[in-house]
Amino acid sequence: MRYLPLTDSDRGDMLATIGVSDIDDLFVDVPAEARLSGPIEGLPTHASEMAVEKHMRRLSKKNLAAADAAFFCGAGAYRHHVPATVDHIIQRGEFLTAYTPYQPEIAQGTLQMLFEFQSQVAKLYGCAVANASMYDGSTACWEAVAMAGRVTKKKRVVLSGALHPHYAEVVKTMAKFTEDEIAGGLPSMQGSPDDAGLIERIDENTSCVVVQYPDILGRISDLTEIADAAHKKGALLIVVNTEPVALGAIKAPGEMGADIVVGEGQSIGVGLQFGGPYLGLFAVRDPKHVRQMPGRLCGETVDAEGKRGFVLTLSTREQHIRREKATSNICTNSGLCALAFSVHMTLLGEKGLRTLAAENHRLACLAADKLDAIPGVRVLNDAFFNEFTVVLERDARELVRDLAEDDILAGVSLGRLFPHEEALSGGLLVAVTETASEEDIDALCSAISENMA
């Protein structure tokens, strides 16, 4: 076996050193009746690298890669061009094969990177402090809800109907066990989010209000009023963002009064990957909330010679110290994905991020105008960034399936996200990033025209 360096003669020498004669002497604690005598039957035995690669390549070819399609899917995962440099760096052995930085003296590479990452996320979100990442946007969203409960000591959670339904589902699932009360709903099919309706649902028992920005239909509106209303009732405003590129064009949630900003960082550096691993971002506007934050934090300090250095800090919040009193049971972050995000963001810089955002918006506007001109197709949004909802005069889910036959991935239907909701069945979410060419947009429009009948 190519991954196992011991030779049979090594094994013999080592058993002798240990003082036993057979490897099974080291497994004596496993009851003999449960111990397997040979390899588990019915399973393949070891294979050459070439054979495994061929097998996996065959499986991969059963998927339609986005690069081979006209591609417009979004709904919480966006396709952007990731510079080759990003992948080069995350494959450096010193990053790829380092563990959690428990020994900071020999982990400054990871730690400084995390400090830079935290700083980038905080600035992007308009917040004071961000943590060193979480599993993904949906779990970060739940962690924010749980944190709001700890901060406010209240149990009622008001979810916007226009929150990504997977995120809402995760919150509801978790809340079942913590006995939080969840108020949710469906998105209103209007040009702008129903902010007034949301504000009405906030009461004195509300721990937090959760809104998505841009929302699941791609709509955007100023959140200041919701923030004020929440704060007036002693609740926190949690803003969820699933497309960080948007924040290169539109106001940061922190600027509008959000208390906790969480999101999915996948757009920057990470790639689509069929949904994971992704990158949970988590930030708080007010530094006083830091000690209630979940997840790892990297902080600046000095070494014995006074040189600047970085360490994991405030770990008294964490499970390996606090056990059942921890702020969260999370132990792992998404270090490598955070690195990818940070490298990509460093390459972009403010200038690149703003240009990227502008190009996304330009193409999305172009696509929206062209789609809106098709008979039987109407763009719902008053405002949007790079994703918007069109309302079709036929079932959007079927349309998406039909177009996929011709290698056009037209977007995500609301029927996929909100099954069995008749009122939403004509809705199609179309995301347009810089990876879509104008030819792709034209191909989408003609295919939809032809298929509207």
């Binding site: 563990y99 997977h166 955007i220 290169g248 800090t313 792992t332 690149g352 172009l366 929206a368």
Partner: protein, 524 residues
């Protein structure tokens, strides 16, 4: 040379990404892409929410970026550089084939919500991996979506809670032995249970009698780490399971250390009801800098119906289906003739696909025979370290018999004021990453060493020599260790200051101390 922060070398006007659109790239004129439509032709639809303020994200050109991160990386220790003996947090060789496979466009460049007809291969990967995990553990089902080990633990406990609720059985207590991972009680508490400790016996194992004595109608589950955090296999596992089941509870097994027994024993045969598997530990997916992880949970027949959504299933015609909220009920009815009572959804989308491709690649490379060898070599290496050092370091459970994948030592006998921390920092100067320190809690000044199966004997011998050397210094009370490390990128770091006055994000220095003038810089 010290590497500055990106905020100190970059600025908001520099970028390492171009968005220029060449009029045409192909000189032969075969392809003449159109100039992009000017933005001005389309009105902005940002609803007046334009971000006006500076974001202050620094940018670097591409050469500067490569150099910054390359230099940073060299301040890290990594498995590619040497042995990484972190007990309970295995870091072993990451095969590069896995990385290559994960980057195939058919896996890396696929959206989670593409129509199912366009992602059959991805679903097959999930399904094949699920099949392997079930076979290797002897269990009935598996929940693939948990994002990491702790997330998997939560999934397992939530399945248990859902199963108990389904039968109207409101139990309130989860028993956790002392030797468990810290995540175990945190998880049980999160799921709304009261956590009670079960003491370890003198051998470092669960005290079976104490456990039995505590069992009763209020105990929902017992969470056992097996092999446990002392590096020992719990020989009474089956008896524990039987007792728990008899009392109407469930057995959760923390499978973080499954790498020690994969292919040697199947937890399902020992009566386990739920167990998460850390793919990065047992199946070598990369965990650079602390993640990502992936924590599928194998489940007994009793718990399988309560597993979270989504899941994949292969029907008799060989097709692999993606089952989500929409059709979970009907699918189970149609294909299994049972009802699903899923407790819900733990994450958006389908789990850590990128880790699934890597883990499956690793598993296929080893096969059933290779995986058994993995466990054997991991255990052999750990026992080799244990027996090669027990004469110079206190090994509290050395008499309890062989260890499994990790060797445990304590600080008994250290001279002067020296601590486990000092010994660990001394190992850095020997060129090695230190072991896990102060864990498990049952041993004073614990040092937990897990060499893994991907170390050669030569590498172990080097490590042992270094450990023996530093141990002697610790026993002799060599005060020099107090200030170790001397030869690392940083000397010992002040963690207290970091926690007392947290600096968690970069801030522009308030009064910039004046940029150097031309003459100061150039010297002329």
């Amino acid at each position: 040379l010290e590497e500055p922060l990106i905020f100190e070398i970059g600025d908001s006007e520099t970028t390492g990404v171009d968005f220029a659109f060449a009029s045409r790239l192909d000189l032969a004129g075969v392809e003449q892409p159109k100039q992009p439509t000017a933005a001005s032709e389309h009105r902005s639809r940002l609803g007046g929410l334009d971000r006006a303020e500076k974001i202050e994200l620094p940018g670097l050109s591409e050469p500067e970026t490569v150099r910054h991160y390359t230099r940073l990386s060299r301040q890290n220790y990594a498995i590619d550089l040497g042995l990484f003996p972190l007990g309970s947090c295995t870091m072993k060789h990451n095969p590069r084939l896995n990385e290559k496979v994960a980057r195939l466009p058919g896996f890396a460049d696929v959206h989670p919500l593409q129509p199912v007809s366009t992602v059959r291969g991805a679903l097959e990967v999930i399904n094949e991996l699920a099949f392997w995990l079930i076979e290797l553990t002897g269990m009935h089902g598996v929940a693939m979506s948990p994002k990491a080990g702790a997330h998997g633990e939560l999934c397992g406990i939530l399945c248990i809670r859902a199963a108990l609720e389904a039968r109207g059985d409101a139990r309130e207590v989860v028993l956790v032995p002392e030797s468990a991972h810290g995540t175990n009680p945190a998880t049980a508490a999160f799921a709304g249970y009261r956590v009670e400790d079960i003491p370890a016996n003198a051998d470092g194992r669960v005290d079976l009698e104490a456990l039995k004595a505590r069992l009763g109608p209020d105990v929902a589950a017992v969470m056992i780490t097996n092999p446990n955090t002392c590096g020992l296999f719990e020989p009474d596992m089956k008896a524990i399971s039987d007792a728990v089941h008899e009392a109407g509870g469930f057995v959760y097994c923390d499978g973080a250390n499954f790498n020690a027994i994969v292919g040697k024993v199947r937890p399902g045969d020992l009566g386990v009801d739920a167990m998460h598997i850390n793919l990065h530990k047992t199946f070598s997916t990369p965990h650079g800098g602390g993640g990502p992880g992936s924590g599928p949970v194998v489940l007994s027949e009793a718990l399988s119906p309560f597993a979270p959504l989504p899941y994949t299933a292969r029907t008799d015609d060989g097709t692999v289906h993606l089952v989500e909220e929409e059709d979970a009920e009907s699918f189970a009815q149609e294909h299994y003739g049972t009802t699903m009572q899923s407790f819900g959804r733990m994450t958006a989308f389908h789990g850590q696909m990128g880790m699934f491709t890597r883990a499956l690649t690793y598993i296929l490379s080893h096969g059933a025979d290779g995986l058994k060898q993995v466990a054997e070599d991991a255990v052999l290496n750990a026992n080799y370290v244990l027996r090669s050092c027990e004469d110079v370091l206190h090994a509290p459970f050395a008499k309890s018999g062989p260890c499994m994948h990790e060797a445990l030592f304590g600080d008994k006998g250290f001279g002067g004021e020296l601590t486990t921390l000092d010994l660990a920092k001394g190992m850095i100067d020997e060129g090695f990453h230190p072991m896990t320190m102060y864990f498990p809690l049952v041993v004073h000044g614990a040092m937990l060493i897990e060499p893994t199966e991907t170390e050669s004997k030569a590498s172990l011998d080097q490590f042992i020599a270094a450990l023996r050397h530093v141990s002697s210094r610790a026993m002799d009370g060599d005060e020099g260790l107090k200030s170790a490390p001397y030869y690392a990128p940083r000397r010992r770091l002040d963690e207290t200051q970091a926690a007392r006055k947290p600096v968690l994000a970069w801030e522009e220095p308030e009064a910039p101390s004046g940029t150097p003038t031309q003459s100061e810089r150039g010297g002329r």
